[in-house]
Symmetry: C2
Subunit: 256 residues, 2 copies
């Protein structure tokens, strides 16, 4: 089972994920995710570093092939820059017996959905989901995707924006985006979205700085249509309209 825990707190867990966790004999994953579901001294935990996805998936599959019920844990959704792809990859490369295993992938609320919900609906129209990590792809490809999506008027959710090992990527991405998007385009830094220490900051692209993000931050780049609704005594609502310019459904002659 490859299980999405949702972002940060138990309240994001689905019934399906809770049931799956209850049936597991083993809990594999990156330490902080495993900590969310079993006690530190639980003998069923098998934690590993967050750069060891391939080895972690192989070990879990070997155990599953011996008949054990193994839970592979992901924060957010396992299908978005997480363990589901790594498990599929190892099944393809591994012994034929692994193809006979029952693989249940249990979706979860992804970080980008929690981040968007925390500030309004910035992903309310067409958008892209991109990882800024160049560990597994060349930086040139990341820039190409950023520019293709920005150029096509799409909002973007950026995963893995920055880390100690990758300090410059977000800054360069913001520079490239400033070359093609209006300086007034909204940028949301959603830190720890869905957790008690959640912190949402919205600035214009012109003023956005890479230092506003850390490893726990999801960055959302609005489209040029994304809007900010100021509210007294509350954070602003940030949303991307459901319609393209000139296609407002409530303006009778707007469809053209």
């Amino acid at each position: 089972m490859v299980i999405g825990l949702g972002p940060g707190e138990a309240r994001y867990l689905t019934t399906q994920a809770a049931d799956a966790l209850a049936s597991a004999d083993w809990f594999y994953g990156y330490g902080p995710y495993v900590d969310r579901v079993v006690a530190p001294d639980d003998p069923r935990r098998v934690v590993s570093d967050n750069r060891e996805e391939g080895a972690r998936a192989r070990e879990a599959l070997m155990l599953a092939a011996r008949g054990e019920c193994v839970a592979m844990l992901s924060g957010g959704d396992p299908g978005v820059f997480a363990m589901a792809s790594a498990v599929c990859e190892q099944i393809e490369r591994g012994p034929q017996a692994w193809r006979a295993l029952t693989i249940d992938i249990v979706p979860g609320v992804s970080a980008m959905l929690a981040a968007a919900a925390a500030c309004g609906a910035p992903l309310g129209h067409d958008f892209a989901t991109l990882s800024l990590s160049d560990n597994l792809k060349p930086w040139a490809l990341i820039e190409r995707r950023l520019l293709a999506c920005a150029g096509a008027g799409m909002a973007m959710a950026l995963y893995n924006p920055i880390s100690k090992a990758r300090p410059w990527q977000l800054g360069v991405a913001l520079e490239r985006l400033r070359e093609v998007l209006s300086p007034e385009t909204l940028v949301i830094f959603a830190r720890a979205a869905g957790r008690a220490d959640e912190q949402i900051t919205t600035v214009t692209l012109e003023k956005a700085r890479a230092e506003q993000a850390d490893m726990a931050t999801l960055v959302i780049i609005g489209s040029e249509e994304t809007r900010r609704v100021e509210r007294p005594d509350q954070a602003p609502l940030i949303y991307t309209p459901r319609f393209a310019p000139g296609h407002d459904p409530e303006t009778p002659d707007s469809k053209g």
Copy 2:
């Protein structure tokens, strides 16, 4: 409250969404979503057609401004082609008092995440989320986004692929994509993903036909890297690798 119910069945509901539903005085939404949480004869239901988002949001906000606790329901996640954006839009356009309301947006498992989980991890790397409906945007813009994302090597989740009122859009989208993507590119038709009658069909782009989709179908277009792992007596696993070609983390000299 704008609440994501997840796709189809109660097992996708999060604890947070269940708690929010329990506190609501009124349930607004498209009929099939309201049916999932309150009985047909419940006086707290206010159902409306799925083309009336603006009016539905206004009515709910008026009631909320009178002090009622109103639940606006969305299938999947409310922030992805659903009610969160419509509610923000009406708050921006409505009376100043609406800006003082407490708006809780409760994220949910979106249809694309459930569809991806049902077949493997086709959205396991950079991807785009696009609506094929040209009700609120010009078709030319949709084609531009499809080609920009396909050209940049991204997978795509296509919402609203087809309906009685929009019968030709998916067919034309597939034609355009055939002009830029390999005929072997994988296309997934995920019908009723996450429901008891779920039906997942994977074909090559060459063989994909618009008639394979209906209103309840989410279509995923793989990238050219998306792979199919055949399994005995089980549906194949479809996944998009975590790495770009030549950047396989398990091939020591692959990073270049």
